[in-house]
């Protein structure tokens, strides 16, 4: 299975600022996804990161708030923009190789 890393592993940010999360995979993959897990909750899909084109966002998530880049088949970034305390969550990337495998997550706290 693919080995997935994320940076940063955790961060504490001030409201109104932005944070970019990186996801690196050790092999080329077609499908990459970004999920959010709010405190004590389940995982919710934010978007599918498409290589060479705009990401496909799920209902309730917009590009202005969560811009995503996918410059190649091994890397993607998710930016959380203009943050508020409600954005405090774990953000996880995943890849599809018949089944989905997840990165270790980025734990974000917004003050």
């Amino acid at each position: 299975s693919a080995v997935i890393s994320q940076k940063p592993s955790r961060d504490i940010c001030q409201r109104g600022t932005s944070l970019t999360i990186q996801c690196q995979v050790d092999s080329q993959v077609t499908m990459m996804f970004w999920y959010r897990q709010q405190p004590g909750q389940s995982l919710t899909l934010i978007a599918t990161a498409n290589q060479g084109s705009e990401a496909t966002y799920e209902s309730g998530f917009v590009i202005d708030k969560f811009p995503i880049s996918r410059p190649n088949l091994t890397f993607s970034t998710l930016t959380v923009s203009n943050m508020s305390p409600e954005d405090s969550s774990i953000y996880l990337c995943s890849v599809e190789e018949r089944e989905q495998f997840f990165g270790p997550g980025t734990r974000l706290t917004v003050l």
Partner: protein, 109 residues
């Protein structure tokens, strides 16, 4: 979209006991996965099981796709089994996973 329900929401076991976790889903699926989220937040793949039965050590899983449910069995539970168990499915023709709300398992010595 597809709905996923897990039961029970919480489960407390004595070490050594067995348990069964259930996942019901509302439509045909081409992917069903069970995950264990450990206390550090890492999601660990347990089973990829859109149909049939699989076993891995003390864990086993069965999915009856025609009846739209899956079961995860944990035998001889250990304290390291504690955490949240998630069932996630992708509907026919989709890659996107929809997660259930999870079962929080606490195994006490």
């Amino acid at each position: 979209g597809i709905q996923v329900e897990q039961s029970p929401p919480d489960l407390i076991l004595q070490e050594g006991a067995n348990s069964t976790l259930r996942c019901n889903f509302s439509d045909s699926v081409n992917n069903l996965q069970w995950f264990h989220q450990n206390p550090w937040g890492q999601l660990i793949n347990l089973f990829y099981i859109p149909s049939g039965t699989k076993q891995n050590g003390r864990l086993s899983a069965t999915t009856v796709a025609t009846e739209r449910y899956s079961l995860l069995y944990i035998s001889s539970s250990q304290t390291t089994d504690s955490g949240v168990y998630f069932c996630a499915v992708a509907g026919a023709g989709s890659y996107q996973l929809t997660f259930g709300k999870g079962t929080k398992l606490s195994v006490i010595p």
